[in-house]
Symmetry: C2
C-alpha cells in the first residue's frame, strides 16, 4: 500500500498523505454461490457503508469460492494491504462451508466448544424454531480457541475476532441480518476502540432528471475548487444521481463548518434537480413532504405492477400518508375498478394520455387521497407496436383539481424500465406536491 | 466438495491439476461507489452466471476504487491466477473515471479516436437523447490503439479487448444493460472462439419451506454418492433454497445422460418441498401453472404493499394470467374497496384471520379472478404490540369456493419481512392452485 502510495506521487501527490493516514479494510466474501452467479452480494455494500461512516476506508472487496487454498491465499494477500480483514460467509451448517476449520488452521488454533454459543444454538432450536437439533447444528457452537467469540443474537453461527501481526480479522455469518446486527452491535464499536480513526463526515444530496456528465459539467468549477481533503462522489442509480461530499481530518469543528459551507454552495448549484438535501431515497423525500403538508397519496398502476406502491411502503411509517393502490394490470380491472371508459380503451388504447388520466381520476375518487400517481405503458420485451414500442409509458400525477400527464420512452430491459418508470413517476408526483 | 478442498490443503499438486483443467476468470469491478457502500454490485453475479454457463469458472471477484495504483496492482494480481480478466466500470465521462487511460498505459498503447465509436456517440446524442454533446462525451470514443474495440449498442462507452502474455483482458462499461448486452452479443461468443472449453451442464430446482441444514441432512447420502465431476450447490434465498447440480467434462452425451439421472433422483428426494424442477423463480413457477390451467390470479395486499404484485408482474407475459391487485394499506381502503367489515377491523383488527379472509373474498369479487392472495401484517420496525409483535402476518389464498388462511411470524428487518411474506404467500398460492 505504502510503496504504491510512493508511485502514486507522480499522479496525485496529495493522496499519499491520505493513504498514510488511513485505516483500511478489505472485505472478503466466501461462498461458491457468489461465483456461480446465483446470489447478489448485498452485504459488502452495506459493510462498506458502515465502515466509511466509522472512518475506515475499504480499499478492496474480494469474493472467493469455498476452496481451501483460494481462501488461504486471499487472507494472505488482503492482510498485506489492509489493517482490517472482514470475512463473511462459509459458516453455514452444510458440508461446503469450510471457513471455520480453515481459520482455525490459519491462526494455529484448535477447535473447542464455546458454551455461550452452544446455549444460543440450543435456545434458537428449542424456543424459536421449535425443531429438533441436528449434530451439524451443534457444531456451529465450535470455535477456534485462538479467537475472541462474538455471539450471534440473530442466528446460530457465532462471529470470530482474530489478531495476527497487527492485523484484525473478523469472521461473520453471511446471512444479511445476522451480519448487520453483529457489525452494528459489536464489531464497529470494537474497531473504534482498537484504532484511533480520523474524523469522517459525509453530506449527501439526491438529484433527478439530469445525466451524470451534464451535472459534472455544471459543477466543474465547484469540483475543481474543493480542497484535497474534501472529495465528491457521483452515485448514479435508476435515473437519479446522488452527490456525496466526504471530508476527513482531525479537527471536527473546522471540518463540519467547512463541509456545511461547501454543501450549501452545491445545493444552490443543483437546486433545479435536487430531490432532497439528505442521504434519503425519492420515496423518503415524498413521505417527508406529505407529512409536512399532512396530505395523503395513492397510486393506480398498470405497467409498474405495484412497484411504486412497494417503494412507497418500504418506508417505515408510510401508512401515515399512503392509503393504497389499484394495480389495474388487466383492462377489465381498469374498467371495473377505476371506471376507465371502455371506448377510450378501444379507441386510443390502455397506453394513452386519456387512459392514464382516467385511471388517476378513478383512483383519486376510490382511494379518496389528496394526490395520485398513475402509470400505463409497455415494459417489454413483448407487447410493443410500431406506434407504441416497448418502453413507451404514459404517467399522470395530480389532485382532484388538476391532473397532468406526460409520455416517456425507456429503452432498457423489463425490470429496468419498471424501475425507471417508478422513479420518473415519483419525481413528477414530488414536483406536483411542492407546486400545489 | 469439502473433502476435495481438504485434500487440496495437504496435497498441493491436486489443486494444480484442477486449475490446469479449468479456464478461469476474474471479475474486476472498478469504482469508488462500490467501496463507499452506496451501490450494490449486481453486475458480477450476472457475469459469473453467464461465464459458468459457457464453461468458464470464476475464481475471484474483486472490487477496487478509482485509484490508479490499486487498479494496476489488481490487474497484475488477477492475471497471475486467471486466464480471463473481465473489468467493468470506470469508463464514465466524469473526472473520477480513470480506467481507460490506465489500460492504455498498462498495455503500452496510445489513445486514438475510434470512428465507429464516435459515430455511435454522435448518433445517441442526436437521435436518442436529442441533447447537445459535450467535449467529455466525445472523449468516450477514444480508445487505446492496442485493443480490439467492442462497439456499445446501448450506450456511449465502447468495450475494449486486450491480449497480453496469453491472458485476455476485457473492459466494459458498468451500466448493467450495456454490460449485459456486450457480454451476450460479443464477449461470450469471442471467448468461446478463443478457448477450447469443457462441456458444462447445470440442472437446478427450487425448493421452499425447508431449511438448508435439514435439506442437506435429508440428501446427505445422495450428496456423498455424487461422482467428483458432479457438484451440488445450495443456494438459499428469501425462504427458498435452490439446488444446483453442475457437471463438467468432455463427453457431452454421457454427461447429459448421467446428470439427468442424478437430477431425477434428487427431484424425488425433495419432491415434498419442490417448487419447480427448473432454474426459475417462484413467480415464474406460478405463471407456468396458471397458464397450463388457463386460470387467473389477483392479489389483495396490505403489509406487502404491492410487492407480490410487483414480483408477479416482473415475469414477461404475466398479463395473460394476472388481473391486478388492491393494495389496501389503509383500513379505509380495506373497507371502501375490499368491503372488509368495519366491526371486524374494530374488534379483531386488521392483522387477523377474519380481515385477511374478507380481503381475499372482496378482491376475488372485485377483480373476478380464479385465485387470490391476501396479506395483512406488521412489517416493523414499529407498529407491533405484545399480542401482535412486528413480524406477525396473516395470509390467505384460495378461490371463490374455498379460502384458507395461515399465520406467520418473521423476525427480520422491514424489507426482509416483506420479501419473506411475499415468498410464503406465493408458495401457499402455488399449493392451492395445484390442489384445486
Amino acid at each position: 500500500m505504502h510503496c504504491a502510495a510512493l508511485q502514486l506521487a507522480q499522479h496525485l501527490p496529495l493522496s499519499i498523505i491520505l493513504i498514510m493516514e488511513k485505516i483500511t479494510a478489505s472485505i472478503i466474501t466466501i461462498g461458491d454461490e457468489l461465483l456461480i452467479g446465483q446470489v447478489v452480494d448485498t452485504n459488502s455494500a452495506w459493510m462498506a457503508g458502515e465502515l466509511i461512516k466509522a472512518g475506515i476506508w475499504v480499499n478492496h472487496r474480494v469474493a472467493v469460492g469455498d476452496i481451501w487454498n483460494d481462501i488461504w491465499k486471499v487472507l494472505d494477500e488482503e492482510s498485506r494491504s489492509a489493517h482490517i480483514i472482514l470475512i463473511t460467509g462459509g459458516l453455514g451448517p452444510t458440508a461446503d462451508d469450510i471457513t471455520k476449520p480453515l481459520l482455525c488452521e490459519y491462526f494455529g488454533g484448535k477447535m473447542i466448544v464455546d458454551e455461550a454459543a452452544l446455549a444460543n444454538v440450543k435456545n434458537i432450536f428449542e424456543n424459536i424454531l421449535k425443531r429438533p437439533m441436528l449434530e451439524r447444528n451443534l457444531q456451529q457452537a465450535e470455535v477456534p480457541d485462538c479467537c475472541t467469540v462474538i455471539q450471534n443474537k440473530r442466528g446460530t453461527a457465532p462471529g470470530m475476532w482474530f489478531e495476527k501481526a497487527g492485523r484484525i480479522f473478523v469472521s461473520m455469518p453471511g446471512v444479511p441480518n445476522e451480519m448487520k446486527g453483529m457489525m452494528s452491535d459489536d464489531i464497529i464499536p470494537l474497531l473504534l476502540k482498537h484504532f484511533t480513526l480520523p474524523f469522517i463526515m459525509h453530506k449527501t444530496l439526491l438529484t433527478a432528471g439530469i445525466g451524470e456528465s451534464f451535472l459534472a459539467e455544471h459543477i466543474k468549477e465547484f469540483e475543481a475548487s474543493l480542497p484535497g481533503h474534501i472529495k465528491i462522489a457521483y452515485l448514479p442509480n435508476y435515473g437519479m444521481l446522488r452527490l456525496r461530499l466526504t471530508s476527513s481530518g482531525e479537527n471536527k469543528k473546522e471540518l463540519e463548518k467547512e463541509l456545511y459551507n461547501r454543501f450549501d454552495v452545491l445545493k444552490h448549484l443543483v437546486a433545479e434537480w435536487m430531490v432532497i438535501d439528505d442521504d434519503k431515497t425519492m420515496q423518503e423525500a415524498i413521505g417527508k413532504l406529505l407529512l409536512s403538508k399532512n396530505k395523503t397519496i395513492g397510486t393506480a398502476e398498470s405497467c409498474t405492477g405495484g412497484y411504486i406502491a412497494h417503494l412507497i411502503t418500504t418506508v417505515p411509517g408510510s401508512s401515515a400518508y399512503y392509503k393504497g393502490s389499484v394495480v389495474s394490470y388487466a383492462n377489465e380491472t381498469k374498467k371495473n375498478v377505476l371506471h376507465v371508459n371502455s371506448q377510450t380503451l378501444e379507441t386510443v388504447g390502455a397506453v394513452s394520455e386519456e387512459t392514464v388520466c382516467q385511471m388517476a381520476k378513478g383512483a383519486l375518487e376510490l382511494l379518496d387521497t389528496d394526490y395520485i400517481i398513475a402509470t400505463s405503458g409497455i415494459m417489454g420485451p413483448d407487447g410493443g407496436t410500431p406506434e407504441k414500442p416497448a418502453g413507451t409509458v404514459w404517467m399522470a400525477v395530480g389532485t382532484k383539481k388538476k391532473i397532468i400527464a406526460q409520455k416517456f420512452y425507456f429503452r432498457f430491459d423489463r425490470i429496468r424500465n419498471i424501475e425507471l418508470t417508478a422513479t420518473y413517476a415519483l419525481n413528477m408526483a414530488r414536483k406536483s406536491i411542492i407546486e400545489s
